[in-house]
């Protein structure tokens, strides 16, 4: 599942301990970001909030761990990319441009890798579901208690949820990928 030869941030990902170290670095980066976000919310509140930086950082983290349209260390999960709009494909055909066959996508994952991908996605789904349930329970409980605290950190909770949805499967793959001492 790991793309061979990739060195994100100069890290060699050969070896499980190195991959786990890389995940820890990414998590530390996420923690720093979350801390800064919370600090901003505490100081300025929700009203004075601009999500541009969060969007940029989220894209950066996604690129660090791989996944959809990001050249990270984990193999591309999706189906081979086609043109964005059907019209685009039509125009290309009209002007004689051959559709370039994607070298990334489902074809790069064999059945074992697809199985692994699905398993890690399910694990991530279970974690995110629990987290969402916890948030919902906190939201309801604090509402009963008439505590407005949740309103203040609401955007942070949503951001955390989105972050988990985006990068957790890739992180789990990086974390769990076994070392294979293969001689060809």
């Amino acid at each position: 599942m790991i793309v061979e030869g990739k060195r994100p941030l100069g890290f060699s990902l050969n070896g499980r301990s190195r991959r786990r170290g890389y995940v820890v670095v990414v998590l530390a980066f996420c923690a720093i970001l979350c801390g800064a976000f919370l600090k901003h919310l505490a100081r300025h509140g929700v009203e004075d909030f601009d999500g541009t930086m969060l969007f940029v950082t989220l894209s950066g983290i996604t690129a660090m761990v791989g996944g959809v349209r990001a050249d990270g260390p984990v193999k591309y999960f999706g189906r081979p990319r086609t043109a964005l709009f059907p019209l685009q494909t039509g125009l290309r055909t009209l002007f004689g441009k051959q559709e370039k066959e994607s070298t990334r996508g489902e074809i790069d994952l064999d059945e074992r890798e697809q199985h692994e991908r699905d398993r890690e996605h399910y694990r991530a789904y279970v974690v995110v579901r629990r987290f969402a349930l916890l948030l919902f329970a906190a939201y309801v409980a604090l509402g009963w208690l008439h505590v407005r605290w949740f309103d203040r950190i609401g955007p942070f909770a949503v951001f955390l949820l989105v972050l988990m949805l985006w990068v957790l499967p890739q992180m789990l793959i990086l974390w769990n990928e076994p070392d294979v001492e293969e001689q060809l």
Binding site: D110, E111, R112, E113, H115, P178, V180, E182, Q183, L184
Partner: protein, 92 residues
């Protein structure tokens, strides 16, 4: 070459002789992987019994070695070839 004696866990009780057949015929993991359309690491996972192949992949591997499916895969551990040829005790 040790035959897959695990056949548990991820492999779901499927045993195979891929490693033995490969060694016998001098086929590398990469060659076999290219022939059946999987990553070479997947061949390693199969040999160690860490992964149970789909029916399609099992047939492809058996076809590659030109052997019937049951000669390559089984639900019970294979008897070592030395034992089959020389009997228990290795012909002492």
């Amino acid at each position: 070459m040790k035959e897959n004696e695990k056949g548990t866990g991820e492999a779901g009780g499927i045993y195979n002789r891929i490693a033995v057949l490969r060694a016998e015929r001098g086929v590398s993991r990469q060659e076999l992987a290219d022939a059946v359309g999987v990553n070479y690491q997947t061949i390693g996972f199969l040999e160690r019994g860490d992964y149970g192949p789909s029916l399609k992949l099992a047939f492809q591997i058996a076809e590659y070695f030109a052997l019937p499916l049951e000669a390559v895969f089984a639900t019970k551990p294979f008897t070592p070839l030395s034992e089959q040829v020389y009997g228990k005790g290795g012909g002492q």
